[in-house]
Amino acid sequence: MMKNYTRRKFIKLLGGTGALLSAHSLLTGCGKTASAKVVIIGGGFGGSTCAKYLRRFDSNLDITLIEASSRFITCPFSNMVISGMQTMDSISHDYTAQTDRGINMVHARVQEVDAAAKKVTLNNGKQIEYDRLVLSPGIDFKWDEVEGMQASDAEVIPHAWQGGSQTILLHQQLTAMSDGGVVIVAPPKNPFRCPPGPYERISLIAHYLKQHKPKSKILVLDVKDKFSKQALFMQGWEKLYPGMIEWVAGSKGGRIEEVDVATRSLHTEFGDTHKADVVNFIPAQKAGAIAHHAGLTNNDGWCFVDQRTFESEVHKDVYIIGDASIAGVMPKSGFAANSQGKVCAAAIVSSLRGVAMPDPSYVNTCYSLLSPDYGISVAAVYRYSEEKGIYKTGGGVSPIEADAAYRLQEARYARGWYDSITMDTFG
């Protein structure tokens, strides 16, 4: 019945706009968003940013952020820890800023999402109801794409593709290796988290070896024939680490079919066997486990979403952001997740208020360090259209002909980038 009232009738009823304005201050607590509950699963770049920007957009929302860990260890800059340039502390972030802005932090795992009843069940049995649910679950691994490996083997052959104990393990294996050893890095097939990440890692492992174990070699067995910022990486490897890195493309024998964990040997499609002192096998990827459990994934293991709002194509009022979502031409990166967290927060607040959301604008910027003084970057700006989904309106990679001063400046900006994005996400 209320919906049939027109604005004019209300104003007349209340004696004009003056009365409306003066009464507006009394409204706190009775607007539609006041009691709305938004639950976010996953406190990484996507989830933490979404929580923060939901609060910035609307001070009345009841926001709960569910994250198993009390500290988040970032994948960005974990290559610096692996190569001994930085400490774990420097890439660890807690959630005090979220608590301070009135976000309910729940440190638990989600056991079940009931999209029909609009509630999630935690591993401690507790249930939390929601009006809108955001999943930012990151990635999980497809262990069955090669023979001979399962999840527990990562204790011997680390992937180090999620920040934490895996980061430390790979660092320890490198420091324990003797000079003249062989390190194999095996990057995953597309799509995967952080497209330039494996190649930054190769660069910084080379940087470590050059200083401490200069007779050592890095063999890259890639399933792919090309990779992100390839020309820039290869130019830098030639310049900084001549003769140290051998990259084998997928079609030239880089594809691994079987891993012998006990002997750290890799058998390729071409029938060759490569044995190494340290193996960093990064498996093929899919959306984080809870997205599968909630029935939100496609056959390839990722989540279809409305790329304007990030609402699931499977369940209403459930949103998926970050690596787990299929976001048009945006890469899977912490930066993209941060950007998507803001767009999703705007979509949710707009939908709760029943107003139009502004046209989304998304961005991605990924810096890679090839040495402490040598940085390169890729940047892109994106918009949305119904025909194209998320598409690029601008951007590009660092110029190939840039001088040392440019690379040094981008190395400085890489560190500034980390300071800013972690502040924008966790601060």
């Binding site: 009365a19 803001k342 705007a346 910027t365 940047a379």
Partner: protein
């Protein structure tokens, strides 16, 4: 007196709930500017090596962005970013950050 006060408040709550009168939209300026924050810091308040842009004049920000876009101002990544924004969008971004304390 009591009914006089409660009645309008009750009605107003319902107005807000229908989202027809008081519910405010998030502006395009906010949407566009938020995408700058991951590098330049929340609201442009950079904590590190990337320049802070809060409180800079709108004229300075918009002119810089247009010059970056047209390759008339030395830059690393900013020329590539600025290429993704129209003049109107640049103006909205410039006004947003100039208004941040």
């Amino acid at each position: 007196m009591k009914t006089l006060l409660i009645f309008p408040v009750f009605i107003l709550c319902l107005v807000v709930q229908t989202g027809e009168v008081w519910a405010t939209e998030i502006t395009r300026a906010v949407m566009l500017s938020n995408s700058c924050a991951a590098c330049h810091g929340t609201d442009g308040k950079s904590p590190g090596a990337i320049p802070a842009i809060n409180g800079k004049s709108a004229q300075f920000i918009s002119q810089s962005l247009r010059e970056f876009r047209e390759d008339k101002r030395p830059a690393t990544v900013m020329g590539r970013h600025a290429s993704g924004y129209t003049d109107e969008e640049i103006q909205l971004i410039a006004e947003y950050f100039s208004s941040q304390p």
